[in-house]
């Protein structure tokens, strides 16, 4: 009898998993007898890293949105429907409207959603007028107009709480805003403030120090350990739970993130925030052996980033094939993340890290290569290239030459004489 693999979510993780599985199955003994189905609620695949550039007029809709089905191999079935819940006991997915999909193996790749309602006042008066987010397409587009009309005043960029997708994106937004207002000749009329719940610019010590000083170089004020209790659009201020107030004329807020709501409706699948508890090395869920997860939907202590999702895909596809063949799983995922950080004026930084090694200076992937934790034009070109790589290699589930799932250690400069003790943080 044929085996059914159902993949929930047709974004980065779902698409690359489906295509990679399809290719690997061609050469696999059980290959002909496997059906792959991908479910998503809509047919607009957004290249999310592009959302950072939209507010600054540097990216167009047509470049960053494509139909989902067109990214999938033609032998993969695409079902466009919302998911109502997963019935773990019956190995069945129930879609909105009642249709059921039974599976032998399930992949959860439904990402993270923005929990706008969890922050008091966020979507109240001023929402999409002087309070925005660039974390979805509508918000990023609205912000483009608001920035174009901004003639001076207080711009505040605020992360409500971790975890968020791409934890460096809010910093990149600050750097680009500094560049944007300089280009427009009004930088002296704008104050830029970054308010974060962390105790520095970033979660990991060495990179945090580097990014904190970069913020200072660019004249961005840093407010740390700020826990947003309320966004008061009318009065134009953020109010912290500790009573501190941050006034703004324009606020860019990165809202709280949760897992997809259907996870909460699926008994035994998710945690209190609807993320899916997942083994951080095998990517098998804790809920049941035939359920796997990758990308932003999981609770693994790695960055919620497309690069992480890509590296996870290699291990996850291998493990699904092992599972279906009754073999032991590989515990090889190391938490590898690789992120370009756009710093404005045609430059970018690159950071490369995993569960055990924080982002360090040096070069990537070896001692000759792109500079790590240091601004360069080459890294900026790398960031721009990533869009091409995303549509043509990453979503196809192909390996990217020179960048494997295991983090390279050659080329990294370790701090001497001791490495600060690291905690496993969701960064």
């Amino acid at each position: 009898m044929s085996k059914r693999i159902v993949i929930l979510g047709g974004g980065t993780g779902g698409t690359l998993t489906a295509n990679r599985l399809h290719r690997h199955l061609k050469h696999h003994p059980i290959g002909d007898a496997v059906e792959i189905t991908v479910v998503d609620q809509d047919d607009h695949h957004v290249y999310q890293p592009g959302l950072l550039f939209v507010p600054f007029g540097l990216a167009q809709h047509s470049e960053i949105v494509r139909p989902r089905q067109a990214q999938l191999h033609k032998d993969i079935t695409f079902v466009q429907q919302g998911i109502d819940r997963v019935d773990l006991e019956r190995d069945t997915v129930v879609l909105e409207g009642g249709r059921e999909l039974a599976y032998d193996a399930l992949v959860i790749a439904t990402g993270a959603t923005l929990a706008l309602d969890e922050t008091e006042g966020l979507t109240g008066p001023g929402w999409n007028e002087k309070v925005f987010t660039f974390y979805d397409l509508a918000g990023a587009t609205g912000l483009e107009t608001a920035l174009a009309e901004f003639e001076g005043g207080k711009l505040v960029v605020n992360v409500v709480d971790m975890p968020i997708k791409c934890p460096v994106a809010p910093l990149e937004f600050c750097f680009l805003a500094d560049w944007y207002f300089t280009e427009r000749g009004i930088r002296d009329k704008v104050t830029i403030t970054y308010a974060t719940p962390l105790d520095g610019a970033f979660t990991k010590p060495v990179a945090s120090a580097a990014l904190t000083s970069l913020l200072a170089d660019k004249g961005v004020h840093l407010i740390t350990e700020f826990n947003t209790g309320e966004v008061d659009g009318e009065a134009g201020k953020l109010v912290g739970y500790d009573g501190r107030e941050v006034p703004f004329d324009l606020a860019v807020v990165i809202p709280l993130h949760s897992g997809a709501a259907y996870v909460g409706r699926s008994e035994g699948l998710g945690d209190d925030l609807n993320f899916v508890p997942t083994d951080k090395r095998t990517l098998q869920t804790i809920a049941k052996p035939n359920v796997f997860a990758l990308g932003d939907a999981t609770n693994v202590p790695a960055s919620k980033a497309g690069s992480v999702t890509h590296f996870e895909g290699e291990v996850l596809v291998d493990n699904i094939l092992r599972f279906l063949a009754g073999e032991t799983l590989n515990s090889t995922f190391d938490g590898h993340a690789n992120c370009f950080i756009e710093t404005g004026f045609g430059k970018a930084l690159l950071i490369d890290f995993n569960y055990d090694t924080e982002p360090l200076p040096g070069h990537f992937p070896t001692a000759i290569g792109m500079p790590l934790l240091k601004e360069s034009r080459m890294n900026h070109l790398g960031k721009l290239m990533f869009q091409w790589v995303y549509w043509h290699a990453l979503l196809q589930g192909r390996d990217i030459p020179g960048i494997g799932a295991d983090m390279p250690t050659r080329g990294k400069e370790r701090p001497a004489p001791h490495t600060p003790e690291l905690e496993e943080t969701a960064v």
């Binding site: 709480d161 719940p197 105790d199 350990e225 709280l256 209190d272 925030l273 943080t425």
Partner: protein, 105 residues
């Protein structure tokens, strides 16, 4: 790492003053730490939070973040800040004798 004497017993603390070994903790020590942090009396609500944090830590291996505390402890985030003004997750974790929650570095 350092050591300190609390409620007459020697305990091991890390550089930020969090317990190295949560099993060394006693309620009397919590009272001492709270007083030193400016909380004169630990009310029932304080104890609800402290006990909840310890339970979460022993079940899940890490203490809850403020957001999770607000969702699951039965005390709202606003009230948590009134109870533990220096930041509930960190301050309550320290008084509860568990490591700093991983999400709030």
């Amino acid at each position: 790492m350092s050591t300190a004497t609390m409620a007459g017993v020697e305990v091991r603390l890390n550089d930020e003053g969090f317990f190295e070994d949560p099993n060394q903790w006693t309620e009397a020590m919590a009272v001492e730490m709270a007083t030193a942090d400016g909380i004169d009396t630990l009310t029932d609500q304080h104890w609800t939070v402290l006990k909840f944090m310890r339970k979460e830590f022993f079940e899940k291996g890490t203490g809850p973040t403020v957001r999770l505390l607000g969702k699951t402890s039965g005390v709202s985030v606003k009230d948590l800040y009134l109870l533990f003004p220096k930041g509930p997750a960190k301050m309550a974790a320290r008084i509860a004798g568990i490591p700093k929650p991983k999400g709030c570095i």
